[in-house]
């Protein structure tokens, strides 16, 4: 089969991006595949194109509602019409309609908690599944930074679905996580494609300060000197708002973005950024999904990320166009304390575990009373069905150690007195890198490369409503 021709006929592209062709060939050859492709490398094409050839449905299991919605929107934008997303937030009347017309869809996105329901399994089996895609497959691993217990249930469903051919996709995975993905998804002699994590066009810069005010001053200095478009990751919603105000006060175009804003406003900020109406977006880690902008020049961390994986994912939003881009991590003494407390806050406490074991389903009511937290309930009720109390306590203890390891590796990143690029690669078990020019602050960066890169951002039309209307509908 001529894949290039298929690609051109289906989507009008003339060539594949690195990795896509190898993965697609193996998928079409009927093999299980595990593909590690950095974000922005066109992961979804790896199942989209096979969908053009394979006879049955492509089921894509996706862990996050917002991610699912974004992918559906992207597929539709590429002209794909037979796409549907099934999640537990659907209205009953919509669900009814979807079940009755399921066979008319080629690409079926589904949340893991829906996939395990017997009714759903029956419907999917009647359909005939050509390929099961586990998107963000690292969520299956409890060693991953993004563990979702619901995801483990995929493994339990596979036999009931007749063990379909599986494609596991992820952007970030260490060897340990890769092993778990293979094991849980029961991948049989899988073809593993692992794209180098390393992004040569990104220069890693770390700057350390004794206190917060120096750090802030440096940030303002940086945004005044170097250009955008750029993302500034702040640790909290309040901080993102505060930073945007400071940058606006300098006369630059900035906005804040966080999960507490209404959805329409979040879309507006994404659009403005994509339209170059904004130079800087100050955001929490809620910003990123649904942002498909190739020429982000600068990603600044004003707060320590909570894991290397998260850091790489956020930094990886820069320079998708392969042009030189800067990743700056700003650190003030004591910053790690906030991160460590955030990380540990996520873990179920011993008393929560015991309560959930004691009360079972009823423990749900304790969430409202503030006795236990929802995340703790979700994780522990999964284990409760599978392990005795001792086993789960042990599991969580292991998890705690893993989180501590993650925190330590972030601390190590900040305080490393060697090459930052190599430090990051090593945490993904990838070694022997060549050092590109402008590698990192250890090997030296020619900052003049990044100075004044910014295009003058477009002024958004102000003035009377009639003028605005004329800009919107220029006829």
């Amino acid at each position: 089969m001529n894949l290039e021709k298929l690609l051109y006929d289906a989507y009008g592209y003339t060539e594949f991006r690195p990795g896509q062709k190898q993965v697609i060939e193996q998928v079409l050859a009927g093999r299980d595949v595990l593909a590690l492709l950095p974000t922005g490398m066109g992961k979804s094409l790896c199942y989209q194109l096979p969908g053009k050839v394979l006879p049955g449905a492509i089921i894509i299991v996706s862990p996050l509602l917002s991610l699912m919605q974004d992918q559906v929107a992207q597929l539709k934008k590429m002209g794909e019409k037979s796409v549907i997303a099934i999640n537990s937030f659907m209205k009953p009347e919509d669900r009814e309609r979807v079940w009755n017309t399921l066979s008319t869809y080629k690409f079926i996105f589904i949340a893991p908690e829906m996939l395990v329901q017997p009714y759903v399994i029956g419907k999917l089996n009647a359909l005939g599944i050509s390929l099961l895609v586990a998107d963000e497959a690292h969520c299956i691993s409890q060693w991953g930074f993004d563990f979702r217990p619901d995801y483990l249930r995929i493994a339990e469903v596979l036999p009931k679905l007749g063990n379909p051919q599986t494609l596991a996709l992820t952007a970030t995975a260490t060897d340990k996580v890769t092993d778990e993905i293979k094991r849980y998804l029961k991948l049989i002699d899988p073809f593993v494609y692992s794209h180098p994590m390393d992004r040569k066009n990104i220069s890693y810069d770390i700057r350390k300060f004794d206190n917060d005010s120096d750090k802030l001053e440096e940030l303002l200095n940086i945004v005044a000197t170097y250009g955008g478009p750029g993302i500034i990751y702040a640790g909290t919603r309040r901080k993102s708002q505060e930073l945007a105000e400071r940058i606006l006060a300098l006369g630059m175009r900035a906005a804040f973005y966080h999960g507490g804003m209404e959805q329409q406003d979040r879309i507006f900020v994404q659009q403005q950024f994509a339209n170059k109406e904004l130079e800087w977006v100050c955001a929490t880690n809620a910003f990123g999904m649904g942002v498909h902008i190739p020429d982000i020049r600068h990603v600044i961390h004003f707060q320590l990320p909570s894991s290397i994986e998260g850091y790489v994912q956020e930094v990886g939003r820069a320079g998708r166009d392969s042009l030189p881009s800067l990743a700056t991590l700003l650190y003030a003494a004591g910053d790690e304390r906030l991160v460590e407390s955030l990380i540990m806050d996520d873990l179920p406490e011993k008393h929560e575990i015991e309560l959930i074991y004691e009360r079972g389903e009823e423990a749900k009511q304790l969430i409202e009373q503030g006795m236990i937290r929802e995340t703790a309930y979700r994780i522990i009720s999964y284990w409760r069905e599978r392990l005795p109390l001792e086993g789960t306590l042990n599991q969580i203890e292991q998890l705690k150690k893993e989180k501590q390891r993650q925190a330590a590796s972030i601390r190590g990143l900040v305080h490393t007195s060697a090459c930052i690029r190599q430090y990051i690669s090593r945490s993904f078990d990838q070694e022997n890198l060549e050092i590109p020019p402008n590698c990192c602050s250890f090997h030296g960066i020619d900052y003049s490369l990044f100075k004044g890169l910014q295009n003058e951002p477009k002024a958004s039309p102000k003035g009377s409503w009639k003028e605005r209307l004329k800009v919107l509908l220029p006829i």
Binding site: K77, Q264, K462, V471, L473
Partner: protein
């Protein structure tokens, strides 16, 4: 109108008779019997459901401001206004919440997608990320665009002209219209967030939201005139035909078929108190509603008499003087004052 003025306008009406959180429920459009009934009692139709997504924190911030300015006296039980609040002139606004009930937002979502699509196609851009993600709205907009043949430049021009001419006639300020247009997106132009608009117009974000609702209500009033068919086409299902809530409508149907209050409660498997709420709602909205099945004429007159004498609509005060009347009878009689709607 500023948000604080909306709150104050409601408080002036319910002063001393309702809790401090009652304006919050009204502004959010809560469909409880109490809230619905208050609209009639206190003539609060303009403000019902003007901000369905109102955040409790935003409301409490407004309460803090009103207290700090001395208009509102801190009181845990009921609204207690200072004399200065009554002296304060509150500007009139084209708000018509009881009629639109938050549906104006659906109209605006449709408009946002239609304008964005036309804007992109006019400029040769056929692929873009839709600014509204709700699939029902997307499906509606797609069908509408197809129906009006939106690719034709004559249609595009007519659309723009109708939009401009009708909005020009809307009885609201130019600044409010600007806020509304700035919430629209087009090719290479993103809509502005509430915070951005607040900064630009020197207002609070919550004030900008109210301004947008005012502009929408004033505009919808013009569009209903049907002289702008391309825009009127977007009103489908937006304007409530019956003033009753859905549930009350069902109760009304059963009542018209001769079922008693008790029977309706059993048939619908709802609490008697809920069905009573529906009758109160019907009493408020239907000029022909008769109280005869529920009380004799004499009791009806006594309730009104005492309400006038005591200058109150507090049920408890009336009940104290008229222990033989049930709370339901009092509510029903008050709802039928004849000057509602």
């Amino acid at each position: 109108m500023r948000f604080d003025e909306v709150v104050l306008a409601i408080m002036k009406a319910v002063d001393g008779q309702r809790t401090v959180s009652s304006p919050y429920h009204l502004i959010k459009g809560k469909k409880s019997g109490q809230t619905i009934q208050d609209i009639g009692y206190f003539r609060l139709h303009p403000y019902f459901a003007v901000l369905p997504k109102l955040d409790k924190q935003d409301y409490l911030a407004s309460i803090d401001r009103l207290q700090a300015q001395g208009f509102l006296i801190p009181n845990d039980n009921k609204v207690q206004l200072h004399g200065s609040a009554f002296a304060l002139e509150i500007p009139s606004a084209p708000l018509n919440g009881w009629k639109y009930r938050g549906n104006e937002n659906r109209f605006f979502a449709r408009l946002s997608l239609v304008v964005q699509t036309m804007s992109n196609f006019m400029q040769g851009q056929k692929r873009f990320d839709p600014v509204v993600t709700d699939e029902t709205v997307q499906a509606w907009a797609k069908a509408y665009l197809k129906r009006i043949d939106f690719r034709s430049s004559a249609v595009q021009e007519a659309f723009k002209n109708q939009l401009e001419n009708s909005l020009a006639l809307a009885k609201t300020s130019e600044a409010h219209k600007a806020i509304l247009m700035e919430r629209l997106s087009g090719c290479g132009v993103g809509g502005l967030t509430w915070d951005q608009l607040a900064m630009e117009h020197g207002l609070l974000p919550i004030d900008v939201k109210i301004a947008a609702v005012e502009a929408l209500h004033a505009w919808l009033d013009v569009l209903e005139g049907m002289e702008y068919p391309l825009l009127a086409g977007m009103l489908e299902g937006i304007i409530q035909q019956s003033a009753l809530t859905e549930s009350a409508k069902r109760t009304q149907n059963l009542s018209e078929r001769g079922f008693s209050l008790q029977q309706i409660a059993e048939l619908r498997q709802l609490k008697t108190s809920t069905i009573e709420d529906h009758f109160v709602e019907m009493a408020m909205n239907d000029p022909a509603f008769s109280s005869a099945p529920f009380m004799d004429e004499q009791l009806f007159q006594s309730i009104h008499h005492i309400s006038k004498e005591l200058k109150t609509m507090r049920l408890r005060d009336i009940k104290e003087r008229l222990p033989e009347a049930s709370y339901f009878q009092i509510r029903l009689a008050l709802a039928m004052r004849g000057d509602v709607i």
